[in-house]
């Protein structure tokens, strides 16, 4: 089971250049809204025609601009779960699924197939309901059962959880995980939510304004993002533009300090990123907090506390390095500390921020160089 996609499609305001390969896995396409995630799915499904390129699924060429191959959506065996589920409102649950079963490989035993699908996706008892009578979660189950009825070799989920409220989300995420595990073919999971991707997908491809970055294992993306876009999508909060000084040293222009980096700083590095819970704050009154090893305190610089926010399980302190302007967005540093770790910090106080060299992530601005 495999999927290879390399396509190009130009629009008035942006160009989509997708290239990735999936091998027997659940792969995530992670990107901010409007970056071209949905268009990519539509190109693979055959709803939108790419300008040029090649799409091969399980050895079958779905689209090849050079050879003039462009299979109709009906022939592609690609299941696409739409964000709004796209159930046919004029048909009952049974009608929705039976319509697909009788068209595709249902044969005589389609009634039994329907019953087993209804059982597998927990829609028994809803057979005679219309989509308008179902909750969001029920609609999603019906939509997935309907896709499975069409016997796809590849399934694609377009932000399947974003239309649901948070309580339902958890429950449905569990069900989705089970569906994805049980599905023999590849699955593409489109989302802008890093948590979902982290929990549900093996590998991830970050999309930045139509450009696809290198496919990486999901865990690796969160541990060491290499580009600004992937760092942003992985939830990193603090950034500064940098000038490279040496292989292991940069000048953080927005923070107005020189910092040491454990990771090598290449010539193409334009930013650094630091996750909020890797920033330690030392106030003068309370000597150490967060990071105890005093001997290694490089990358220590004075800051003014802008705001202290009590979150549910942590304390968030926004600080601004003394040498920079707190009105600029990049100049603020957000530190997430264990609750109670910094009792004495108040707005206006001068504290010291410490960042371990190994916690600094050197980032490239653009990720499409392969």
């Amino acid at each position: 089971m495999s999927l290879y996609v390399k396509i190009k499609k130009s629009y008035a305001d942006f160009t989509l250049e997708a290239e990735f390969e999936a091998q027997n896995e659940t792969m995530a396409l992670l990107g901010a809204s409007g970056c071209g995630k949905s268009v990519t799915l539509r190109c693979i499904a055959g709803i939108t025609k790419p300008d040029e390129g090649l799409i091969v699924s399980n050895g079958v060429t779905l689209f090849d601009s050079r050879k003039g191959v462009n299979l109709s959506p009906q022939k592609r065996r690609v299941g696409l779960l739409f964000q709004n589920y796209a159930l046919f409102p004029n048909m009952t649950v049974e009608g929705n699924i039976m319509a697909v079963l009788s068209k595709r490989g249902g044969g005589r035993n389609r009634r039994e197939k329907f019953i087993s699908l209804a059982k597998k996706y927990y829609i028994e008892g809803l057979e005679n309901h219309y989509p308008a009578q179902l909750s969001g979660g029920q609609q999603q189950r019906v939509a997935i059962a309907r896709i499975m009825a069409s016997d796809p070799s590849l399934i694609m989920l377009d932000e399947p959880l974003s239309a649901l409220d948070s309580y339902l989300r958890w429950q449905l995420e569990d069900e989705l995980a089970r569906t994805l595990d049980g599905f023999p073919g590849d699955a593409l999971y489109v989302s802008h939510n890093r948590d979902e991707v982290q929990r549900l997908c093996d590998r991830v491809c970050v999309i930045d304004r139509g450009l696809f970055e290198k496919v990486r294992p999901t865990r690796e993306l969160f541990e060491s993002p290499e580009t600004l876009a992937s760092a942003l999508l992985s939830g990193c909060k603090n950034y500064s533009r940098v000038q490279r000084l040496t292989d292991g040293r940069v000048r953080a222009a927005d923070w107005n300090v020189d910092l040491e980096c454990a990771k090598p700083v290449g010539h193409d590095i334009s930013h650094i990123g630091v996750r909020a819970h890797y920033v330690s704050i030392i106030s003068e009154k309370e000597p150490a907090c967060g990071w105890e090893n005093a001997a290694n305190r490089v990358n220590k610089f004075p800051c003014r506390v802008l705001r202290v926010i009590e979150d549910v399980f942590s304390t968030i302190v926004n600080v601004c390095p003394l040498g920079s302007d707190p009105e600029l967005d990049f100049s603020r540093i957000r530190a997430e500390l264990p609750k109670g770790a910094i009792g004495a910090a108040e707005e206006g106080n001068i504290v010291e921020a410490v960042i371990k060299p190994c916690d600094i992530m050197p980032l490239r601005a653009l990720g499409h160089q392969r």
Binding site: P73, H129, Q133
Partner: protein, 231 residues
């Protein structure tokens, strides 16, 4: 009282509504999907009969299907059929005048149709025919019914173009609207009032039907049973 005009009006309106029902839906379907430039041009041409005075439509029709027109003379020559001044001449006139009503109403419904339903049908392997008849048409039912009823009502009331191509021959081409005109010209007010009454009744029934249909289809299918489903 001779009820021929009522019979003739209903006959003409039914046949022309039957024709515009299919041609209107087809035109709406293809034009809703057409590229922008084609869409604009075709839309203008197809909507023209709605904004032109019916007499202009009648004039063009006479010039086409009249005994000296290209189509009319050919029909007369090959089949010996006269296309004007007969009861069915009115069908040509009413079809052309009512077509835009059907076409525009249905096109609006098609354009408002959620295209993801269409796409999901395609990716699920359903044929174009199935998607059109079983998904698109049922979900655009309201617009299609409204268009049909409006077209029928307009066909019943058509006067200008009809009068020009059929004239007024009692017992042969008379319709309700031409009868009212003729009776008024003859000063036969009492009979004219009767036909006016019939006309009012029919129009009232048509509008009642439209309103009933709208109320019925305002709710999504099965919405009335939601409470039952929730428990």
């Amino acid at each position: 009282m001779d009820l021929f005009p009522l019979y003739n009006s209903l006959r003409v309106a039914s046949i022309s509504t039957f024709i515009t029902f299919f041609t209107g839906i087809c035109a709406a379907y293809y034009i809703a999907r057409a590229p922008k430039a084609v869409k604009g041009a075709l839309d203008c041409v197809l909507t023209l009969p709605m904004v032109l005075p019916p007499t202009v439509v009648g004039f063009f029709l006479l010039k086409t299907i009249g005994p000296y027109g290209p189509v009319g003379s050919a029909a007369l020559k090959f089949w010996g059929v006269r296309m004007t001044m007969t009861w069915y001449s009115a069908i040509f006139a009413t079809t052309i005048v009512t077509f835009p009503l059907m076409y525009r109403t249905v096109r609006g419904a098609f354009e408002a149709f959620d295209r993801t339903l269409l796409y999901s049908g395609q990716t699920l392997g359903l044929s174009g025919t199935f998607i059109f008849w079983r998904i698109m048409i049922p979900n655009c039912k309201q617009g299609i019914l409204a268009g049909t009823v409006l077209a029928f009502a307009r066909a019943l009331g058509e006067f200008g173009a009809t009068a020009m191509v059929t004239g007024y021959i009692p017992g042969r081409t008379a319709t309700i609207s031409t009868a009212v005109y003729q009776l008024w010209r003859e000063g036969n007010d009492s009979l004219a009032y009767k036909w006016v009454g019939i006309n009012l009744t029919i129009s009232f029934l048509v509008m009642m039907t439209v309103n009933m249909l709208e109320n019925r289809y305002d709710k999504p299918k099965g919405a009335a049973r939601v409470q039952q489903a929730d428990k």
